[in-house]
């Protein structure tokens, strides 16, 4: 892909009249031609598992249909820990589930791949939806969400989301989360509401432009201070444990500090591992956190959970396109809603900046594909013209776009003088594991919540519903798991589901030497010792290691 030289494009930009763009005649055709979800050859049909026959992106399919990284023999000598509820994932959903499960009296272990709070939750800038306004209603929230999801969402889940949303806000405030207020002082007052794209009423509650960070601050403190929750940082999930009936009865974690496996036997396992951005579907950069490698999705699928809307992903229009070290970083939609324009290398506006995310993304990709993008050091994108916005509405940058200012400075750009280069970035997994209102999946003992789960957003997610989802369904899953947990661990715990899984792989002619899930992005060069790297297909005979003395 090539584009117009950056310097030349800057000159054209200065000369541009910022005339309104021509309306797009055929949105369907634009999406079909340029949106990555519709790209020719990018989808393959799954050959094994509960969703055999459905289509999903090639990179994800390879992960979903991979072989397990571990064998029974690798777990020889691994310590076993018992608990009632095991929660995997230290983002907002995992913390909400852990807090609720602990309050309901369950013994809880919260294990996270990196550290608690290392998640996409902290990156959520816009806010959280809840129908709390006098002019608003739960019914409106329900209908708006369904409509935005093109009618594909599970109505029971959406109803649950909308009706629990105000209580979720109350719960967060009780735990100390702050929100912007419309009137009143530091204590008391009414919540400030903003209108999300596609909504009929102002429904976004926020705290400056780092709502997710503020939420995570509160959740993290609550989890760390709760003595009933054992918090295990740096313990990625490697495989789920099953019993002979195929129920989920725990998980195998890999302790990165001690370099050994740990088996956790649990009555209920709640996966809250987030999305798939770091698989870089269709070779897209991503706005996602380092840990978003679809590990939970892959393992849930392997143990038998059904998935839905696997072919639907959200590409955020304004990811950073230059410089390369911040590629894919997210510039909030706030910039466009404040009035910033998108311009191509000819200095023309080419799309209504406030159209739906998928339309704007497709339009940017069209400009780049047809040679009207801007090229700088090999990167191609379009301009997001902040300087012109600042001239038009002085002070916007300082008051409304604080995070954008930080981001621009990281890129070595003065945002008031130089336009940012943007192009779409892989942002959100719309579908995921099929769940019910309590987060239970088709596999007994296995719960899923957060971005990992599907059905709430249909084929397109509204702004602010992701933060609401993690709190609402995180809490519900935690409560249900703690109540249904039994104090006695399953008698026979092992990797029983792997035999059937491998038989399916062989029957479908799939390779057995593609191992998954990826715990970290492939380019991370993480040092696992040789324990986890061993599943590269080289080692075929088992040579047991001497067990390490337990600390």
């Amino acid at each position: 892909m090539t584009g117009i030289d950056h310097r030349l494009a800057l000159e054209r930009l200065l000369a541009s009249d910022h005339a309104a763009p021509n309306p797009i005649d055929d949105i369907e055709a634009l999406l079909k031609a340029h949106h990555p979800d519709y790209r020719e050859g990018s989808l393959v049909s799954l050959a094994v598992g509960a969703n055999r026959g459905s289509e999903c992106p090639t990179a994800l399919a390879a992960s979903l249909q991979s072989n397990a990284r571990i064998e029974d023999a690798d777990l020889a000598g691994a310590p076993v820990v018992d608990t009632e509820v095991l929660i995997i994932g230290g983002g907002g959903a995992g913390c909400a589930a852990a807090l609720t499960a602990a309050e309901a009296g369950g013994r809880v272990i919260l294990a996270t791949k990196l550290r608690i709070g290392d998640s996409n939750t902290v990156m959520a800038e816009g806010g959280i939806q809840a129908a709390v306004g006098e002019d608003d209603s739960i019914q409106r929230h329900f209908e708006d969400t369904l409509r935005a999801g093109h009618g594909c969402a599970d109505r029971r889940l959406v109803a649950c989301l909308a009706s629990s949303a105000p209580d979720s806000i109350r719960w967060l405030i009780d735990r100390g989360m702050r929100f912007d207020l419309a009137e009143g002082g530091a204590i008391g007052g009414k919540l400030l509401r903003k209108k999300p794209g596609g909504a009929t009423r102002a429904r976004i509650l926020s705290f400056k432009d780092y709502t997710g960070l503020e939420m995570m601050r509160v959740l993290r403190e609550a989890v760390e201070l709760d003595e009933r929750i054992r918090l295990w940082n740096r313990c990625p999930l490697v495989e789920l444990l099953s019993d002979e009936a195929g129920h989920c009865v725990g998980a195998v974690l890999y302790d990165l500090a001690l370099h050994r496996f740990v088996l956790v036997r649990a009555s209920c396992v709640i996966l809250a591992t987030g999305g798939v951005g770091r698989l870089h579907l269709n070779d897209f950069p991503t706005s996602n956190h380092y840990g978003a490698t679809a590990d939970g999705l892959v393992l849930a699928y392997r143990i038998g959970a059904a998935l839905r809307e696997l072919d639907s992903f959200q590409y955020h229009p304004t990811g950073i396109a230059w410089p390369s070290f911040r590629l894919g970083g997210l510039i909030s939609e706030a910039a466009r809603s404040a009035g910033a324009h998108l311009l191509n290398g000819l200095g023309e506006r080419f799309v209504d900046e406030l159209a739906a995310r998928d339309v704007v993304s497709a339009a940017i990709l069209r400009e780049c594909a047809e040679g009207r993008g801007i090229e700088r050091e090999g990167m191609v994108g379009v301009f997001l013209d902040i300087p012109e916005l600042e001239r038009r509405q002085p002070g916007t940058l300082a008051q409304r776009l604080i995070s954008l200012g930080h981001l621009a400075r990281q890129c070595g750009i003065d945002p008031s003088r130089e336009p940012m280069m943007v192009r779409p970035t892989l942002h959100y997994q719309n579908g995921g594991v099929v769940i019910d209102e309590n987060g239970t999946t088709s596999v007994p003992g296995l719960y899923c919540t957060g971005e990992l789960s599907g059905g709430i957003h249909g084929r397109n997610r509204m702004m602010g519903n992701a933060l609401q989802e993690i709190i609402t369904f995180g809490r519900r899953a935690g409560l249900h798991a703690a109540r249904s947990a039994s104090r006695h661990p399953a008698p026979k715990v092992g990797l029983f589901h792997l035999q059937g899984w491998r038989r399916q792989l062989v029957a479908a002619g799939m390779p057995l030497d593609r191992f998954g899930p990826d715990l970290f992005p492939r380019y991370a060069n993480f040092d696992f010792g040789d324990e986890l790297a061993l599943r590269g297909g080289k080692r075929t005979t088992y040579a047991p290691k001497r067990a390490r003395r337990v600390e």
Partner: protein, 413 residues
């Protein structure tokens, strides 16, 4: 090589439908038996039929000792408790083709002059229980029992009894205790059931598969049956193949088929790239066969020569990716949970074995644990009234002999 299945033949798989069974040659064996009752036991002796429930005891010897008892109430029990890991043949026979089993039990009644024929079925196996019940109803209504009753001069009681569903309930004296209405507690032998069984009366107990074979021996003759086997072995055997093979399942193969043929031809070979490591034969109460034993013929004598037992014909194949200690610990847990608790050495011994194995398995085991395991293996055998604790010890001892280095690798000091 090709061979025609007998017990799993499509003509036998008629479900509980008695008419279909009769159309496919059913009741022919029973007619032959009634025509010449004195020739039944010699025919079984000539056919070389042995008990398929695990022990491999010659069937005709059991039968003749019951037949030799004084007249009066006698019992024939068909043992379908089947609860050991890796075995799934009896439930299949009872659900897919119960008539060949019932006919075999009736032939036994003719041979030993028994007036009670009871099918003892595990209630956890719903399909088997349902199918057997329905089949029995049809036999009772059919009038086929009348010639037997005429011969006995007594009414013949044909019925189904639900077992307790526990593993120990399959032990023959526990079967008797259950039928008498008690807990499934084994007792000391002798007296053997043939002398003093249900309510003190002579009792014949045979496995489901054994009785199914009787039907076919009586129908086709003992010579035909002998010729089905390979080498010196007679007849066919049902193998329940499971574990890390590509196509697990129930196979009926000539007695004496090699382990290699079973695993690599019929079972489709190993699953994935991992190598063959070992086989747990006949459920857990028996020993391990390793890669050196792949060419062993799977019949009672050849397997016994290797220091193992064919048992029920269950073959749990494990690959190089399986941890021996964990697998053995799982089996010993099964025994510990299944101990009826009457004998202290069994009750506490199986628990201690399990605890020591779990210590080694979870990375906290030391040399002393291994030594303690060895002492228990020397101390426990023969200390219970039934063979449960012996079974637990056998599997531990066998695995320690074959895979000692794996145990030692997992010790921390």
């Amino acid at each position: 090589m090709t061979h025609r299945p007998v017990l799993l033949a499509p003509t036998a798989a008629v479900g509980a439908d008695l008419d279909a069974w009769l159309q496919n040659g059913g009741a022919e064996g029973l007619r032959h038996a009634l025509a010449a009752p004195e020739r039944i036991i010699p025919a079984l002796a000539h056919a070389g039929l042995r008990g398929m429930g695990g022990a491999g005891f010659p069937t005709h010897r059991k039968w003749s000792s019951v037949a030799g008892q004084s007249a009066g109430d006698k019992y024939v029990l068909c043992n379908g408790n089947e609860d050991e890991p890796g075995t799934f043949k009896d439930r299949h026979l009872l659900s897919a083709s119960p008539h060949q089993v019932i006919e075999g039990a009736l032939i036994a009644a003719v041979a030993v002059d028994a007036n009670h024929v009871l099918l003892y079925v595990n209630p956890h196996q719903h399909e088997a229980l349902k199918s057997t019940r329905s089949a029995i109803e049809q036999w009772r209504a059919s009038g086929l029992l009348a010639p037997i009753e005429r011969r006995l001069g007594l009414r013949l009681a044909l019925d189904v009894v639900e077992s307790s569903g526990r593993y120990i309930g399959g032990e023959e004296t526990a079967v008797i205790a259950t039928i008498e209405g008690g807990f499934p507690f084994p007792r000391r032998k002798p007296p053997y059931p043939a002398e003093s069984g249900v309510h003190g009366r002579p009792t014949l107990i045979n496995n489901v598969e054994t009785l199914a074979n009787v039907t076919h021996i009586l129908r086709h003759g003992a010579d035909w049956y002998r010729a089905l086997g390979i080498g010196g072995a007679c007849g066919t055997k049902l193998y329940s193949l499971s574990g890390d093979v590509l196509e697990p399942g129930l196979f009926e193969l000539p007695m004496g088929t090699s382990l290699r043929e079973l695993v690599f031809t019929h079972g489709g070979g190993m699953l994935g790239p991992l190598a063959f490591k070992a086989v747990f034969t006949g459920g857990p109460s028996n020993t391990l066969l390793t890669a050196d034993d792949l060419d062993v013929a799977l019949d009672f004598d050849a397997v016994a020569q290797r220091g193992s037992r064919l048992g029920t014909g269950a073959m749990i194949v494990i690959s190089a990716g399986t941890s021996i200690v964990r697998k053995v610990a799982e089996y010993v847990d099964f025994f510990a949970a299944g101990s009826c608790g009457q004998c202290t050495p069994c009750k506490t011994g199986t628990y201690q074995l399990s605890r020591l194995l779990r210590r080694i398995d979870t990375g906290v085991g030391v040399q002393a644990d291994l030594r303690a395991l060895e002492s228990l293996c020397a101390l426990l055998p023969g200390s219970g009234r039934c063979g449960l604790v012996d079974g637990a010890v056998t599997v531990v001892r066998s695995s320690m002999q074959q895979f000692r280095e794996e145990y030692e690798h997992q010790l921390i000091g």
